[in-house]
């Protein structure tokens, strides 16, 4: 299973390196979301600082939908599923590999969005760095949910409109925990229990994904 996961992860990352969808579409969309939310809050520095944690996680969530959609689209291309089945790859391995590749991309995106937060929202960079454990657990949870729901809508004509409707309510707990944890860190506390909550979510989503991804891809 782990060998299959490493193969699929490597494949997805190689495709990303060649196509640069993350660099040219997902990251600019995330930054655009940051800017638009800042415009909606107005020029008050206090309002921006107060809203910064929520806006960071909301921008990350919205951009993660694009990244998940892209990850699912790779598997939906003509003949890919048949090839994966012919290779005899373990479904759980395929799921974990795709989650890992997506998590790596989302971690890069989170780093860039946090830089945007420093520049646009004037938050304390030293304190924001303390939120790293939150980001690490959260991207795994986002990637697990995104991969599973991406597989659900892959190949349908309405995938682009259906995926946000399905995935965003499922990701709401990640948004709440991420926002609360980051707000706590920026206010001078630690990530503490919110990091644990996100870690539990990440493990739970991974476990559910490992169980349900197989039946989803099973053609019988």
């Amino acid at each position: 299973m782990w060998r299959d996961a490493a193969l699929v992860c490597g494949k997805d990352l190689r495709i990303e390196l060649r196509s640069r969808v993350l660099v040219w579409q997902v990251v600019p969309f995330g930054i655009l979301a940051l800017i638009l939310f800042a415009l909606a809050l107005g020029p008050s520095l206090d309002a921006l600082r107060h809203g910064a944690p929520g806006i960071l996680w909301l921008a990350l969530l919205l951009a993660s939908v694009l990244a998940s959609s892209r990850s699912a689209a790779i598997e939906a291309t003509e003949g890919t599923r048949a090839t994966v089945r012919l290779l005899g790859l373990d479904a759980a391995g395929v799921f974990l590999g795709k989650v890992l590749a997506l998590a790596v991309q989302l971690l890069v995106l989170t780093g860039i969005l946090e830089l945007g937060l420093l520049v646009l929202f004037h938050v304390d960079g030293g304190r924001l760095a303390l939120a790293t454990p939150l980001s690490c657990f959260a991207v795994v949870a986002l990637a697990a949910v995104g991969t599973l729901y991406g597989a659900l809508v892959a190949g349908t004509d309405v995938a682009t409109t259906l995926l946000p409707l399905l995935v965003l309510p499922a990701l709401a707990p990640v948004l709440i925990a991420g926002e609360r944890g980051t707000a706590s860190v920026l206010a001078g506390g630690g990530p503490g229990r919110w990091a644990i909550v996100l870690a539990v979510m990440a493990v739970a989503y991974l476990a559910v994904g490992v169980v349900l991804y197989g039946p989803l891809e099973d053609p019988s």
Binding site: L148, Y149, L152, V153, T156, D157, V158, L162, L165, L166, P169, A170, A172, P173, V208, L212, P215, L216, D218, S220
Partner: protein, 238 residues
Amino acid sequence: MSRAVDRALGPVALGLVVLTVWLGLWVTPPDELQGNIVRLLYLHPALAWVALYLAFGLAALSSALYLWPRTRASRWDLLAASTVEVGVVFLSLTLATGMLWGRPAWGVWWTWDARLTSTALLELLFIGYLAMRRVPADPHTRARRCAVLALLACLDVPIVHFSVQWWNGLHQGATIDAGFQFHVHGSMLWTLLLSFLAFTCVFAWMVRRRYQIAARSEEVEDTELQAALVERRAEGVR
């Protein structure tokens, strides 16, 4: 289900609802503190019970039975679809009656309490399920996807259930707790219990009807497909 039970279910459900309304509005007394808004007690918990535990519990069970290769049959998919559709109606009514109660009791229609928020998310998750059912796909693929989606959405049900204990929000605790300890008494208790029975019967009747309609439309689709195939073969022979 025998034909007699099938025929009797609708009138029995209607009779029980009428009895609940009569007891709830005219026989039971107003609450000492809450006055007449306590009468929503005979609607809201029963609607929530049907939506959260009966409808979505049945949806999870039938979806799991569909995904399990040994028990896979289209009837489980149809049952899951029917229970979710009816469950969404009951959950919408749960939210609406909760809001009607919240306005006089809390002073607002909506508050970001953990129970309310997790229930609203559950509603959105199952609206997503209903959207997925309407996506054109071959029946088996659609059934498999919807079964996975229903199981994922049902993960929110325990969160809704325990949200009152975990987060100590504004929403009150259970009216009837896990050890069947009742926190209401007398005619109010009997009316409350009757409301649970009445809405359970309404749910059973609605799911039964919805399932029959879904099964018949599947039969019609199959018949039309067979007729089209016969027609094409006849064209080929000519």
